[in-house]
């Protein structure tokens, strides 16, 4: 089922996925995912619960392997997790036995020899304190994670990842466990950091407003679509596909944009498209509006009356 690699996008972009399938046993979770993300994008991913957003993220970070297909960073296939892909999870963000400062410095300590560390210790500590200053946590540097609130822990976790300057930062519903006002504060922080450090971010969330507010590119992953393959049962055995891919204006950083009508209309459109089984579109009609979006559809998906492809 492998098509020729889309060379143009593969060479140009930082993250390239093509023909990625993921199944557990006979259940297909991700179905023929094609995605190419350029450097500097803040790419947000939304979709119904359980559609496979987190699975996709885990495949990119290397915690799991795709059943099929290619996943590359900087044109090199990914394997197990390494320092090129940073990650911020929703929980278990920090190491409980280390202070805030030690948590932030951990990456540096791990990747330097003891001689290097001895020489650069003060420089690194200063850098860490600067990072903590950007998220307004400097005076908490010597506290332990159990003494911090959830929002504070997530701020430290972001800084802990950023200081190592990974090629891409993956975030798995990082603000999901926080209350709405903290969530908004952290969204603003993330945007500021993203602009300052020119990060490339892959941000999974179930909050449509958050995805539309933060992203320069919004991807809709969903199992609600139609194609020419016949499925047993009612079609809920489908793996998820990218059914929507939208470039977004990164003009205003103010959160007041969330109240505007155009914003709310867009969100309503996404909700219908991705979350409502009744408005399932055909594979050939997906709203793939981003300049880097592409599809490599198999014959089975397009040809009428064909059978389910075996994963």
């Amino acid at each position: 089922m492998v098509s020729a690699v889309n060379q143009e996008l593969f060479q140009k972009n930082l993250l390239h996925l093509q023909d990625v399938y993921k199944s557990y046993g006979s259940k297909v979770i991700l179905d023929n995912i094609d995605l190419s993300v350029a450097k500097g994008e803040l790419c947000t991913v939304v979709g119904p619960s359980g559609c496979g957003k987190s699975t996709l993220l885990r495949i990119i970070v290397g915690q799991e392997r795709a059943s099929q297909g290619i996943v590359t960073i900087d044109q090199k296939p990914v394997s197990t997790p390494d320092r090129n892909r940073g990650i911020v999870f929703q929980k278990y963000s920090l190491f409980p036995h280390l202070s805030v400062l030690e948590n932030v410095l951990l990456g540096k300590k791990l990747t330097m020899t003891s001689a290097e560390w001895r020489a650069q210790r003060d420089v690194c500590t200063q850098e860490a304190m600067e990072f903590l200053g950007k998220v307004r946590l400097q005076e908490h540097a010597h506290k332990y994670p159990f003494e911090l609130s959830g929002g504070m822990q997530q701020r430290v976790s972001i800084v802990q990842t950023l200081i190592m300057k990974p090629r891409i930062v993956l975030m798995d519903e990082p603000f999901g466990a926080l209350d709405p006002s903290t969530r908004e504060d952290l969204q603003v922080f993330l945007l500021e950091l993203w602009e300052e450090f020119q990060m490339t971010v892959f941000f999974v969330t179930h909050d449509l407003e958050e995805a539309a507010y933060l992203g320069t590119r919004l991807i809709v992953l969903s199992q609600h679509y139609r194609d020419e393959r016949s499925f047993e049962g009612s079609g809920t055995n489908r793996g998820a596909k990218i059914i929507g891919d939208y470039p977004l204006e990164r003009s205003a950083a103010s959160t007041t944009i969330k109240g505007q009508a155009s914003f709310q209309d867009f969100i309503a459109h996404i909700r219908r498209e991705g979350f409502d089984p009744a408005s399932a579109k055909h594979v050939s009609e997906f709203n793939l509006k981003h300049k880097d979006s592409f599809q490599t559809l198999t014959e089975a998906e397009l040809k009428k009356g064909s059978r389910i492809p075996t994963p």
């Binding site: 290397g62 791990l110 994670p145």
Partner: protein, 277 residues
């Protein structure tokens, strides 16, 4: 309006004794036991002053003076002191070795499934053998010297510690491990610099829990083949029915056990404040 039913003071689900009353309840069984003992002792001794079964507090104090504060005629040592140090050294060596090995083996088998497949069934097998039944084998193979006794304590406590550390290692959320790897940790760095420090307080709690068993193996081994130690002493003087020595020794062993337990508990609470179960 009628007043609500009074809260029960002692019986039932909703009773919750506080303060002075709670402390009274706490020491009541001790007082009762003490009372029964003193009464029984007094009765027996007034019938037969030579009775050895239930020594009076004075007799026990005299025996204690003899063992702890009088140099032994033959060796010049203070017997209770040398017994205590012999026993504690054996206990420390056995439990210490079990703790270090258990930590390392539990951590590595928890992290690396290849190693686990190799070692786990064998370790489970060893854990099921009752340690005291191996004691004769240990004495035959290693002689009746220190090593066999320490080995028994080790065999008795090592499997339990390993099993628990293994479970704790498996319980680490995958997110923490992935995060460590994305920060640049190698496999060994992950094990030693990220996971092991988090396992230390759990290890100390395990030691606390297995100390009870360790004392058992210590006393059994000393009773059978030793020339010093707390277990050795109480089984030796058993032949003379010297309850006036045995009872203080047992109380002293209890006191030691209690102190070790308290030390470990305080260590975890002070040094590992972040460890909250």
């Amino acid at each position: 309006m009628e007043s609500p039913k009074p809260v029960p003071k002692f019986w039932g689900l909703h009773a919750d004794p506080q303060g002075g009353f709670q402390r009274l309840l706490n020491i009541l069984p001790f007082l009762i036991l003490l009372g029964i003992y003193l009464t029984a002792s007094h009765i027996r001794l007034s019938e037969n002053p030579q009775d050895k079964l239930l020594p009076s507090p004075v007799q026990m104090w005299d025996a204690l003076q003899l063992m702890a504060f009088t140099p032994d005629k033959r060796t010049g040592e203070y017997l209770m002191f040398t017994d205590t140090s012999s026993s504690l050294l054996r206990l420390g060596a056995g439990v210490g070795a079990a703790a270090v090995s258990g930590l390392l083996l539990g951590l590595f088998t928890g992290l690396f499934r290849g190693l686990n497949a190799l070692i786990s069934p064998f370790l489970t097998f060893i854990a099921i053998i009752p340690p005291l039944s191996i004691l004769p084998i240990l004495f035959i193979v290693f002689g009746v010297d220190e090593f066999a006794k320490i080995m028994l304590i080790f065999i008795g406590t090592f499997p339990v510690i390993t099993r628990d550390i293994f479970t704790a290692t498996r319980a680490f959320p995958q997110e923490l491990i992935t995060k460590g790897l994305t920060l640049g940790a190698s496999d060994l760095q992950l094990a030693f610099r990220i996971l092991l420090p988090q396992l230390l307080p759990r290890l100390f709690e395990n030691i606390r829990l297995t100390l009870g068993g360790a004392w058992l193996f210590l006393i059994a081994a000393e009773a059978i083949a030793s020339t010093s130690g707390l277990g050795y002493r109480i089984f030796l003087v058993r032949r003379y029915l010297a309850m006036d020595i045995i009872i203080p020794y047992v109380l002293w062993i209890t006191c030691l056990g209690f102190s070790l337990d308290w030390l470990l508990k305080t260590l975890v609470a002070r040094r590992f404040k972040w460890y909250q179960r």
